[in-house]
């Protein structure tokens, strides 16, 4: 990875940023132009993400380190590409393109600056995945959050605004916690670079380390809010279900961002050394609580949107718990689960809108947003043009069934493989002769219960939606709306069939992660390029 | 000698200004009306500015001057907005 490909690492951040900047110059009425710019940028992003993923895939445990501003590692900001971030980037890009295409049918026209905010959201998410610096992480978190506020409110309407208010309030509080955590860590460790921090932790004296741990714990709360751990998660189902369909689709990645960071930081900072295993128990119990709450919520929800929202919690709970157990093979199963559940939930959120459109629920939401209050400055969203889907109900039904299967972890789609991968590592051939612990039993039972809850809830909802509607009007569904959904679902099928290579990738990733010194060495040894001004090599280190 | 004089003068001046600020903030708290509070805020701004200049003298550095200048030049914007809100019920018509 030399020459120009090296600069590709930063591309996932810059492409959306530049696209967003260009979009600002395009008048709101030129909707097609805006859509094209956004689409092209996202397609390029997918291309870049695939390239980076392939690079990571080919090189075992390679770390790509990008020194921003050509400053040596602990001083400047670094971007780090490793297996995990490459994976998350790809996942983001895939989900993004699906959501974007979906939005082109109608949603992108119901409010101002949809595409700009969409691109900036991608920038924030990608930045958070790539960065190797705690405070920079905060900044990208905020970029992501700010854009998500905008997107959540996209389309306005009482439901969204109320959900948005809660979402924003909670996340503002979270941001403050984030700041407290980061500053405590800086104050005690004297660095912000994650790799440097990991390297310094063993050398920190006792009482300073305690404070550092307090900081890390506070930081953890901030991420857990994003990841949706009980009891910090009540905003999540409401917010996600209130968001417009494509937005909710891309939001599926956001809660995983919290998980990602927890995974990254626990593995890197608390993988070994005196603070090893810090907070793991807490994660396990938090995961259990979240999982239980998610299960209950899935069961208790009538609206599909909330079912989906609680499914996010279920998946978060599962992941948190597995991360708390923190065992190599289990974690790689968890990664597979993460990918699978993101794709599923994203597809499901978009599907819900299509399905409910037949019941006039979606139409009502749209109508609310179009309340005649634009006094002319708001162009009426043009009647959507495009090809409507033939055999709509059959396809919607199939997609719905696929989602149900995925959510409940039934075969043959990737939901099953993912759950199997985790469980197998805990109590199957991955752990021969090791008697399952109480945590493992609990997790197994809960995983089963969650599948069951999803099954019950989804059949209930599916039956109500598809089979009992008395004069079921067939919704008008455009090809570009259903294709993204099918695309994401097809990916889960691919993930099932290619589970072997996928698991290989996850295993490699986790192996690299569980050996923090690889990451630390890669970052601290990254050499600056000589010859700018009078700057030289690793001076000052 | 001159150092001591200035040192003492600065210390006393700072205390006096702090006292002024404290008194002003009592009015801010007591009201009775919004306009009293707003004038209080304005006075607080002015006193704070004086305090900064005094602090500058005490430290012998000019770099704190800009903060004072910002207060002097722009501090009134907030109070103007408050006043206008009081009068008209909205800030920008």
């Amino acid at each position: 990875m030399t020459g120009w490909t090296h600069h590709l690492i930063i591309a996932p951040i810059l492409i959306p940023l530049i696209a967003a900047a260009i979009l600002l110059f395009v008048n709101e009425r030129q909707r097609v132009t805006k859509a094209m710019i956004s689409l092209v940028a996202t397609i390029i992003l997918v291309g870049v993400a695939i390239t980076l993923f392939e690079i990571e895939n080919r090189s075992n445990g390679f770390e790509g380190v990008y020194l921003l501003g050509n400053w040596a590692a602990p001083f400047g900001i670094v971007l780090v590409l490793d297996g995990l971030s490459a994976l998350m980037l790809l996942l983001t890009a895939v989900v993004a393109i699906a959501a974007l295409v979906f939005s082109l049918a109608r949603w992108h026209g119901v409010g101002a600056h949809f595409h700009t905010m969409f691109q900036l959201l991608l920038m924030g998410v990608n930045g958070a995945f790539l960065t190797g610096d705690l405070f920079n992480l905060f900044v990208f978190f905020e970029v992501m959050l700010a854009a998500s506020y905008g997107l959540l409110l996209h389309g306005s309407g009482p439901l969204r605004v109320k959900a948005g208010l809660h979402y924003i309030a909670v996340n503002l509080a979270a941001a403050l916690l984030f700041l407290i955590g980061v500053s405590l860590i800086y104050g005690t460790a004297g660095t912000l670079n994650m790799a440097d921090l990991a390297a310094r932790i063993p050398q920190i004296e006792e009482d300073r380390r305690m404070l550092m741990e307090a900081g890390a714990a506070v930081l953890g709360i901030a991420f857990l809010i994003k990841a949706g751990m009980w009891p910090l998660c009540f905003w999540l189902p409401t917010a996600y279900s209130a968001a417009s369909a494509p937005v909710a689709g891309v939001f599926a990645i956001l809660s995983k961002l919290g998980i990602y960071i927890i995974l990254r930081l626990t593995m890197l900072l608390f993988g070994e050394g005196p603070s090893a295993g810090f907070g793991a128990t807490f994660l396990v119990f938090g995961g259990i609580a979240t999982l239980i709450f998610g299960i209950i919520g899935v069961l208790a929800s009538q609206a599909l949107g909330r079912v989906a929202g609680f499914s996010v919690l279920v998946s978060s709970g599962t992941l948190l718990m597995v991360l708390g157990i923190n065992d190599g093979a289990v974690s790689s199963g968890a990664l597979l689960y993460l990918v699978s559940s993101t794709l599923t939930i994203s597809a499901f959120f978009m599907l819900i809108e299509l399905v409910e459109r037949g019941q006039d629920a979606g139409a009502a939401v749209l109508a609310v947003t179009m309340e005649a209050f634009g006094e002319g400055e708001e162009g009426e969203p043009e009647p959507e043009e495009g090809v409507t889907m033939p055999g709509t109900m059959a396809i919607l039904g199939t997609c719905f069934a696929a989602c149900a299967i995925l959510l409940s972890g039934l075969p043959p789609l990737s939901g099953f493989i993912a759950k199997f991968a985790m469980l197998s590592a805990m109590m199957g051939t991955g752990a021969i002769g090791v008697p399952p612990t109480a945590a493992v039993w609990t997790l197994s039972i809960l995983v089963i219960l969650s599948g069951l809850a999803a099954l019950i809830s989804m059949t209930r909802a599916g039956i109500r939606t598809f089979w009992t509607s008395i004069e079921g009007t067939v919704p008008r569904v455009l090809v570009i709306e259903i294709v993204p959904v099918m695309f994401l679902l097809a990916l889960t099928l691919v993930l099932t069939l290619r589970a072997g290579p996928a698991m290989h990738y996850m295993d490699t990733t986790i192996r690299t992660l569980s050996n923090p010194s690889i990451y630390i060495d890669a970052v601290t040894n990254a050499a600056v390029m000589p010859g700018v001004g009078n700057r030289s090599g690793t001076e000052g280190k | 000698m001159s150092a001591i004089i200035i040192f003492t003068a600065v210390a006393i001046a700072q205390l006096m200004l702090a006292a002024a600020m404290a008194i002003v903030s009592v009015r801010m708290f007591r009201g009775p009306r919004a306009q009293d509070r707003i004038i209080g805020l304005d006075a607080l701004y002015i006193n704070a500015m004086l305090l900064l200049v005094t602090f500058g003298i005490g430290t012998g550095r000019v770099i704190y001057f800009e903060a004072a200048l910002v207060i002097g030049m722009l501090g009134f914007v907030a109070t103007v907005a408050l006043a206008k809100f009081l009068m008209r019920g909205e800030v920008i018509e």
Binding site: - | V24, I38, I46, G72
Partner: protein
């Protein structure tokens, strides 16, 4: 915490101290007046002590001090004085006008130029006749 002042002539130091204390005490007196005076219209006069020679004193002190300690004319304090002088009236004018309006609608404080019946009815108090 305060850095020892640079070596400057004693006379200048005394001048600096004088102006400094003058400014600060005027500000303090203004503050006291602001607290003690009875009606709003009286109180409005008090802080102007601070904004006029209160600032003036401190500014002169600062200019004197820095001009001598840095060995070059330092006059930018003038700007502060100027801006404060120019901007304070804006606030005061607007506020006083708001207070007038409010007193008139409520018919309090013996404010001249009371208002017509309509507003009086609205607020539910007897309008006060203009003197």
């Amino acid at each position: 915490m305060i850095q020892p002042a640079a070596d400057i002539p004693l006379a200048v130091a005394i001048g600096v101290a004088f102006f400094l204390l003058l400014g600060a005490s005027l500000a303090l007196i203004g503050a006291i007046g602001f607290l003690r005076l009875q009606s709003f219209y009286e109180r409005i006069h008090a802080p102007t002590l601070g904004t006029s020679w209160g600032i003036g004193g401190v500014m002169v002190a600062s200019m004197l001090y820095f001009s001598f300690s840095l060995q070059k004319p330092v006059l930018h304090e003038l700007l502060i004085g100027l801006f404060v002088t120019v901007t304070t009236p804006v606030t005061f004018l607007l506020l006083a006008r708001a207070a007038l309006y409010r007193d008139r609608t409520e018919g309090k404080n013996g404010v001249p130029g009371g208002i017509g019946k309509a507003a009086g009815e609205r607020v539910g108090e007897e309008p006060v006749d203009p003197p």
